[in-house]
């Protein structure tokens, strides 16, 4: 199976006039996504996951590293070539209201990818648009309305329709259900999964909510302050979390069934300001098992199980014994 997406040592720095050091939003991340698989990326706000999502599609420029989409080096593409490539890799944004132009009708919004990339006759275009709008669960009459006439969940369906109408190979969803009511969340998630299966999509699902990611992802990466601290197949991650941060996140998931409840790990402090990242392991000030080494040397992602990588000195040492 080939990889739809390959990131090698990708790094993104932001320079602001107020801080002397640049803010490292994404710190040397490498990962691969196989075709047809779903990768979940989990982290708090400030972890860099949204930045990573945008880097994957080269919506923002990396400071360093390589990004390969379907074996094509995205960074070597010129503007026009990159734009053409975009029909195959799409993004679903978090806030469905602001990602839809309030002055355009639904029909115009959804047709836009077709207008840009394909030269269809009006009848063919209409057909495609009508087909996709019903596929995402809305009525054809919705096409002539405007975004403000819909609820959050419906708008997200419209965004999804726009993203998949050109049959992309890769879809990156940046917190697609976080802005929605909990009751609607599962509907949209189901829609995403159905579409993924129908269209054979490779998927990147970014979220701060572990319980959401659990159902939809094949593999899950946990991010903290710009680094991946743990990455593993989904069920392995949940059954056997190795990094203390992952453990804390999982312990915080509310469980209805008493047997499944784990005692909560409460982390000290808050996530630090990315402009002022801690030395050594980013997590060490909040880590319950930190040792001296953790404050001076940055740990690397090492294999700690089958397809399971963790970035923690203690875990790595335990495994190598």
């Amino acid at each position: 199976m080939s990889n739809i997406l390959e990131l090698s040592n990708v790094r993104k720095e932001f320079h602001t006039s107020s801080s002397k050091r640049p803010i490292v939003a994404v710190d040397n991340i490498s990962l691969k996504l196989e075709k047809g698989k779903t990768l979940g990326i989990v982290g708090e706000s400030g972890s860099g996951k949204s930045t990573l999502g945008r880097l994957m599609l080269r919506l923002i420029e990396p400071s360093a590293g390589e990004i390969k989409f379907d074996d094509v080096n995205l960074l070597s593409l010129k503007n026009t070539e990159l734009r053409k490539m975009r029909s195959k890799m799409q993004m679903i944004f978090q806030d469905p209201m602001s990602s839809l132009n309030p002055r355009m009708s639904i029909r115009q919004l959804i047709s836009e990818p077709l207008e840009i990339h394909k030269n269809l006759k009006a009848s063919e275009q209409n057909f495609a648009v009508e087909e996709i709008i019903t596929k995402v669960g809305l009525e054809i009459s919705a096409l002539d309305k405007y975004p403000h006439e819909f609820s959050g969940g419906q708008r997200q369906r419209i965004s999804i329709a726009r993203a998949v109408i050109n049959n992309p190979s890769l879809v990156v969803a940046d917190e697609p259900v976080s802005a929605l009511d909990v009751s609607i969340q599962s509907q949209i998630l189901n829609l995403l999964m159905d579409l993924r299966n129908d269209l054979n999509l490779s998927f990147v699902f970014i979220s701060h909510d572990l319980s959401v990611v659990r159902h939809i992802a094949d593999e899950v990466a946990v991010m903290y302050l710009g680094n991946i601290v743990e990455i593993a197949p989904a069920d392995q991650l949940f059954q056997n979390p190795q990094h203390p941060y992952t453990q804390a996140l999982i312990s915080a998931i509310p469980q209805v069934e008493k047997e499944k409840r784990v005692s909560r790990m409460i982390l000290k402090g808050d996530i630090p300001n990315p402009a002022d990242a801690p030395s050594g392991c980013n997590f060490h000030p909040r880590c319950p098992i930190a040792i001296d080494k953790c404050s001076s040397i940055t740990p690397a992602l090492k294999i700690t199980g089958s397809d399971h990588l963790t970035s923690c000195h203690l875990v790595n040492e335990a495994v190598s014994k």
Binding site: R83, M91, F93, S98, S99, N101, I116, H117, R162
Partner: protein, 282 residues
């Protein structure tokens, strides 16, 4: 929720619209409306001593220093003032919008540079320069209009610049980029429509400014030159008779005030209607 104030404003704005419409009509149909030719000097248009005649049954608004009918000159003057005002404003809008749009969207070095240039122009005693240029170049309607446009485009550019930046940051622009839309497409189909209210408001308010500027320049004698009548140069020509024949100054003056007030009111009301967050200064 409409307050009394809002309803009144709408009514006032409607009145202004009617007035403006009337003036426009007068300007367009000048040849049919004006009782006489604006340039014809009548023998009985002056007193025996050669002074202008007060309003009477024959010359409804009196005559000017050369015995020409003031009413006719006023009607034709509407034409001149409006043509110059609209032309100048159109150029200023076009120039200002393009520059503001490009600078606001592209940002980076080019954007900053452009904005520094507008800073520079704002520090300019531009009217002074306009006066200099208008005085020295050969007088034609076009030159006057262009000079006025040069003075006015800067304000438009700044407002459009700030707004373009704000709009470009919105997520639907990023979404369009992620679909693969070209810059041109984004500017024309996404950003420009959001700027329309602003452009409309400035289009209206701008005409007030340009009409006033034309009147000012003509009043100084360096705008539209006689014998072509413009409300400003009627005042200019008849300055010496100010004391003995004040209507020659007051009537065109009132006309200018009315036009300026109406466009200002209309523009202000439009602004409040279309974007309640913008208040106060022009």
């Amino acid at each position: 929720m409409k307050t009394f104030k809002q309803i009144m404003r709408r009514k006032v704005a409607a009145v202004c619209l009617v007035v403006i419409f009337l003036i426009f009509t007068a300007a367009i149909f000048a040849p049919w409306l004006a009782p006489y030719s604006p340039n014809e000097q009548f023998k009985d248009g002056l007193t025996l001593q050669g002074a202008p005649i007060a309003p009477n049954s024959e010359y409804l608004l009196g005559t000017d220093l050369l015995g020409r009918d003031l009413l006719s000159r006023l009607i034709y003057g509407a034409r001149t003032s409006l043509v110059v005002g609209i032309l100048a404003n159109g150029v200023a809008l076009l120039l200002g919008t393009t520059i503001g749009l490009v600078a606001g969207y592209l940002r980076g070095r080019l954007g900053s540079l452009i904005m520094r240039v507008t800073d520079l122009m704002m520090a300019f005693p531009a009217l002074l320069l306009a006066i200099t240029l208008a005085a020295i170049f050969s007088p034609s309607l076009l030159i006057v209009a262009l000079v006025i446009a040069m003075v006015n485009w800067v304000q438009v550019a700044r407002v459009i610049y700030t707004q373009t930046i704000a709009i470009s940051e919105r997520e639907f622009v990023e979404a369009s980029r992620s679909i693969g839309a070209s810059n041109r497409r984004i500017l024309v189909k996404h950003i420009l429509p959001h700027l329309m209210p602003t452009i409309l408001v400035w289009g209206t308010l701008g005409i007030a400014t340009t009409v006033l500027l034309e009147a000012t320049l003509s009043f100084l004698g360096i705008g539209v030159r006689p014998p072509t009548p413009s409300w400003g140069n009627i005042i200019f020509e008849n300055q010496t008779y100010f004391i003995t024949a004040p209507w020659l100054v007051f009537i065109p003056g009132l006309a200018i005030i009315t036009l300026a007030l109406c466009f200002n009111l209309l523009g202000d009301t439009l602004r409040d209607e279309l974007d309640p967050t913008q208040r106060g200064r022009q």
